[in-house]
């Protein structure tokens, strides 16, 4: 059969083939299942926080009693900390791996929008959703623990809570989303990518809580010798300075004792000095700092003042966002590289 047909006049082709807004609608159509799941988890967490907050007693002693049996609190904080991982596993990991596994990429990547723009737009839309939901969840958690903070039993400096403020939780959600997307693009198998994201995400959250946050908060601390050494420990502290103290609301990094000539005493000698101070206080000493000075000793402490809290929040967020950007580039390179596979 011979087809006799004129070659049509070709219309002008625009530089940017498809606007962003229609692309957002495509993202919603494709991922509404996963997004609804995340939204359901978000609503469940939010509801739990609100119920916990409104059923919490208003006076301090009752709060302390409630804190002594912290099952609900611990569970709530743990779930919220894992919220970014859930996003990474159920939204990020299947994003590209499902396309590759089902072969649907042969449809999507040959549409007028092009594969790079398609993936970037999808990521941006999903990132907007996850960052917003994580931010609101972090704010709700902050509102919930504020009542514990004012009576000095909780602090947002603590590593678990430090990663669950509106700023850091949103940054973690973004990072987990992009990490999952990258692993999905790299592995190309949905279930494997989800498992890898779950393992990687949980490992990173745990590493951050147990070590990385402490390392971050140990950067460039202030140092003072004006703190009364009473009830203070020697060595690495990594603890909160609760309300009422000189460093109220700050983060204590390390304590040590210096002797004659400003030389740091070893742990045994330092505890000897502290014991002497304790004994002197029991016998009526009112100014332990001056007492130490008279004995050519001094108790020192490095700390982060309360005013630096949001600076460190910003630093952690910038690191996570930077990693998310790097993984985004790696994802784009990966899907472009699929053409060379």
């Amino acid at each position: 059969m011979t087809v006799l047909a004129p070659v049509p006049v070709l219309p002008q082709v625009h530089e940017h083939p498809v606007p962003w807004r229609p692309m957002a609608r495509v993202t919603w159509l494709q991922h509404r299942g996963g997004l609804m799941g995340v939204l359901a988890l978000f609503c469940a967490c939010a509801l739990a926080i609100v119920l916990e907050r409104f059923t919490a007693p208003s006076h301090a002693s009752s709060l302390l009693i409630r804190f002594a049996s912290p099952d609900a609190f611990t569970l709530l904080v743990s779930v919220i900390q894992l919220f970014p991982v859930v996003i990474g596993v159920f939204v990020g990991a299947p994003l590209i791996s499902r396309e590759l596994e089902s072969g649907a990429f042969r449809f999507t990547w040959t549409q007028g929008v092009g594969r790079t723009r398609f993936v970037i737009t999808t990521l941006v839309v999903l990132a907007g959703f996850t960052v917003t939901s994580a931010c609101v969840l972090g704010a709700l958690l902050g509102w919930y623990i504020h009542s514990f903070e004012v009576v000095g039993v909780q602090s947002q400096w603590q590593s678990g809570l430090f990663n669950a403020t509106p700023v850091t939780l949103a940054a973690w959600a973004l990072f987990a989303l992009v990490l999952g997307t990258f692993l999905g693009a790299l592995i190309g198998r949905t279930v494997t990518a989800m498992a890898a994201t779950a393992v990687g995400g949980v490992a990173l959250v745990a590493a951050s809580n147990l070590d990385l946050v402490h390392r971050l908060l140990g950067v460039a601390p202030l140092v003072t010798s004006r703190i009364p050494p009473m009830s203070m420990a020697i060595g690495t502290l990594n603890s909160t300075s609760y309300a009422g103290g000189t460093l109220s609301g700050g983060w204590l990094v390390r304590g040590w004792v210096t002797g004659t000539g400003g030389r740091e005493l070893n742990r045994l000698a330092a505890y000897n000095v502290m014991d002497h101070v304790q004994t002197a206080v029991i016998h009526g000493l009112t100014d332990p700092t001056r007492w130490l000075s008279l004995h050519h000793d001094a108790f020192w402490m490095s700390y982060q003042p309360a005013s630096r809290f949001w600076i460190f929040q910003g630093v952690e967020a910038v690191v996570l966002i930077g990693l998310a950007v790097l993984f985004s580039f790696a994802t784009v390179r990966c899907i472009r590289g699929r053409a060379r596979a």
């Binding site: 059969m1 070709l10 082709v13 083939p17 159509l29 449809f107």
Partner: protein, 304 residues
């Protein structure tokens, strides 16, 4: 204008070459059938043409000089992949929405009209459609983009005869209405003659035969005569395939414009199926037009 033009195109997967030194030019306005045995490199060639794969060597351009896979090319080239992969969890209507939002040129009214004609319910999940309906939906989505080039990879491979007929009828109708060029790969040779007017035969990753089907058929003939005189025939005509039955020989030859058979020999027209099968059985035989001098000056040669 050539709708697809390759020059020394090669694609290697690890240590295996799926395509090697593939040079061809497909002129606009044709329905082109790409045939070849399994593993010949048909899908690889089509994926290179739509930008899903990039070449290891050489280059491929579409619709004149557009780089395959570039945004300009994607705007004007529609592709229906093997097994018509779509989003199975979406409804047909949602799938239309996806396609509409992923393309600047998308005729949703036309698509809805076609789906209505094909009796495909818009609220049905794609995964619940039959194989034929999924293929029709994929083709409808591709045609609604008003492409200048439609690329189809084994579009009827898993369809029953009726669905196959309906699918190809839709392609032919679109060609007649929109004047688009079509490049499709197929194993179903019986479909080719009815639909295609240009043939490319790919074997072992290389183009073995390419040209307009009418010219290819006119350029070949089947000569039947005494076996002991076949030597005289082979001196005059390049033989693609020979079959001996006792003292009788049947030779499929390329005539090179000479139509007079030798004395004592009968000449018969060759069918497209016979021609394709003959070349498939003789991978060393080839007849190729030069890719760059297609317009009236194509070089055709036979190597045996």
């Amino acid at each position: 204008m050539n709708v697809v033009e390759t020059s020394g195109l090669g694609k290697r997967y690890h240590s295996t070459w799926a395509l090697r030194d593939c040079t061809l030019a497909i002129p606009a306005g044709h329905v082109v059938a790409l045939v070849g045995p399994n593993g010949a490199g048909k899908t690889t060639l089509l994926h290179c043409a739509v930008g899903l794969l990039t070449a290891t060597t050489g280059k491929v351009t579409v619709l004149g000089d557009l780089e395959a896979g570039s945004l300009d090319a994607l705007e004007r080239v529609a592709f229906v992949a093997q097994d018509a992969p779509l989003y199975r969890h979406l409804s047909v209507q949602a799938m239309l929405g996806v396609a509409r939002n992923l393309n600047r040129r998308f005729d949703e009214e036309q698509a809805e009209r076609r789906l209505h004609t094909l009796d495909i319910p818009p609220d049905r999940k794609v995964g619940k459609l039959s194989g034929g309906q999924q293929a029709q939906l994929a083709l409808t989505l591709a045609l609604a983009r008003h492409p200048d080039l439609l690329v189809l990879d084994e579009p009827v491979a898993r369809l029953d005869p009726l669905a196959r007929h309906d699918f190809m009828a839709l392609v032919v109708t679109a060609v007649a209405e929109d004047g688009l060029s079509v490049l499709f790969s197929s194993h179903v040779i019986s479909e080719l003659e009815r639909v295609a007017d240009y043939l490319i035969l790919l074997t072992h990753g290389q183009v073995q035969m390419a040209g307009e089907i009418d010219e290819l058929l006119a350029g070949h003939t089947v000569l039947s005569g005494p076996a002991e005189e076949s030597g005289a025939v082979t001196e005059r005509f390049p033989v693609v395939q020979s079959q001996l039955a006792g003292r009788h020989a049947q030779l499929l030859v390329r005539t090179n414009g000479r139509s007079d058979p030798p004395a004592g020999w009968e000449s018969d027209d060759v069918s497209l199926e016979e021609l394709v099968l003959a070349y498939l059985r003789e991978p060393s035989a080839s007849t190729l037009p030069g890719p760059l001098n297609f317009m009236g000056n194509c070089t055709t040669e036979v190597v045996l």
